[in-house]
Symmetry: C2
Subunit: 314 residues, 2 copies
């Protein structure tokens, strides 16, 4: 079974880890958001790709929720002493190893997808990671205080400055990375991970060609709601929804994605047992507990998403 | 008193440290070789500038002879795990902080001289460090096995592959960094540190304009021999001399630099008590112990070089 998953960082990493457990024989391809990526001091950071890689490699810091376990910050402490660096951005030493490996390949002229392939070879991930695009399409946030990179808005300002819009800089000139459209077209199931619908999934869907690939694949497209009990699991994502005029509710997010039969993307939508979303024309809705606290619960969510997909063709 | 010093890495760093001790009130400008500089994984390495900075800042590793004291290699261990990196090049974590600070400024579009100014602000060096040029003029080594960057030849192959020539790539298009020519012109004394005459001092002299500045300054130009008892202090430098057809002796190096009165650079030449170099037309020669083992001996060498300079105008 071939499964293609659109995914962002933390939510995506947990979902993919659960999916790997739930479908150990499946050929899973993750199409990963790159909108959070940025150049920091000449080094290319790709937070979502790395978060997913670390989680699937089992070297992520579960306690902290991000980055590598056993991390240190000797390099960034030096950078701060030199007056360089971002007090709001933690650049761990082990993590920096990944950034430098990526930067090495990029500066050699390889595209991000090739760099990602070479970097992920180190681990046995059991999931193929593809960046959504090889172009540098970064998400910027329009605010009353000016435009800033999403990372700065999210990490430095904790999404506390009202966002007026999210801009996918350079998206018009971008194309899906090699393998992305094929993965969607050839999939038996396409899943939208319970990632931020705006700046994770939305940034992937903004790449010209990806929305079309989702609409034209023969596979069922099943979304997993990132909302639990009318709240986002990861605190600040509601600020993103609010900015684009979408209510923080499972049904509003589903309507935002839209039904595939009426110009949208979803065939089915898995929502939490606490949420309401049964009245969504053109979308088959199922409910299940969606809180991915621990690997067993994550595998169950993935399993429920696959069951929902199967029910569509039954 | 204004002193300008042409300097390479380890020998230059010891000599400059001694000079700062010997002339605490002097305004010392070091014009530092950048031929060893290179891009590694998209990060700009400048070994000579850093070796001098660490030594003058008192954070160098005296025991190892290079790099930062208390160094670790967590990042480069990661890089190796990813299959990236140079087993022959040690990229310490603290050192990497310096490289990343420099890369940060360079990627922002600042020239190396500005980056160096900003980076050295962290420490109280008591010496102004100027790169010889802002352009990327890297020293490459021509061998029977092809051309390779000096770092690779020196650090990886331990200068063991016979060098046929040293090539200062891009030197024709380079100009001295801002302040270099003025420092030489305005100096009361110009010193050539006991650094490698070929790939350190030679690479500085290859920058168009620097040789002319030395020849036209009103200040006496005093060289300190890097030879002690017919040997180079730092093992492999004789391979560089051999490659350019210069004997490893104090007088041969002086002849290589030449007397200022006959198209060369030197007014005076300080040689070790073990060496012979009294018969050098146009060059005033003095002898003194030149082994800079420890700060007192280094200060004495610098003091003797200054005394030799004074003797010229007496």
């Amino acid at each position: 079974m071939k499964i293609a998953v659109l995914a962002g960082g933390v939510g995506g990493s947990r979902f993919l880890s659960g999916l790997r457990d739930a479908a150990p024989d499946a050929d899973i391809t993750a199409i990963v958001n790159v909108g959070d990526d940025m150049w920091l001091s000449g080094v290319r950071i790709a937070p979502d790709l790395d978060t997913i890689m670390y989680k699937l490699a089992g070297v992520n810091d579960e306690e902290r929720g991000w980055g590598r376990v056993g991390e240190s910050e000797r390099v960034s402490a030096e950078l701060r002493e030199y007056g360089v660096g971002w007090p709001w951005f933690t650049l761990g030493d082990l993590d920096l190893g990944t950034h430098l490996a990526r930067t090495h390949y990029l500066r050699e002229g390889l595209p991000l997808s090739e760099a990602t392939k070479l970097i992920t070879q180190r681990w046995k991930l059991g999931v193929t990671l593809l960046p959504s695009t090889d172009q540098e399409v970064e998400t910027w946030v329009k605010t009353a205080e000016g435009e800033m990179h999403f990372q700065e808005w999210w990490t430095r300002h904790r999404a506390g400055i009202p966002a007026q819009a999210f801009i996918n800089r350079g998206v018009e000139e971008s194309i899906p990375a090699p393998g992305v459209e094929t993965a969607i077209a050839d999939a038996d199931v396409v899943l939208l991970a319970p990632s931020n619908p705006v700046v994770s999934i939305g940034a992937i869907l903004a790449i010209p060609g990806i929305r079309e690939a989702l609409r034209s694949t023969d596979a069922p497209v099943v979304g997993v709601s990132p909302i639990i009990g009318g709240s986002v699991v990861r605190g600040m994502a509601d600020a993103c929804l609010t900015a684009i005029g979408v209510e923080t509710s499972a049904s509003a997010v589903a309507e935002h994605y839209g039904a595939r039969s009426i110009d949208g993307l979803l065939d089915a939508w898995l929502i939490d047992t606490l949420d309401d979303g049964t009245d969504l024309p053109g979308i088959t809705v199922a409910t299940a507990p969606l809180w991915m606290r621990g690997s067993e619960l994550s595998a169950q969510v993935a399993s429920d998403a696959l069951a929902l997909a199967r029910s569509l063709s039954a």
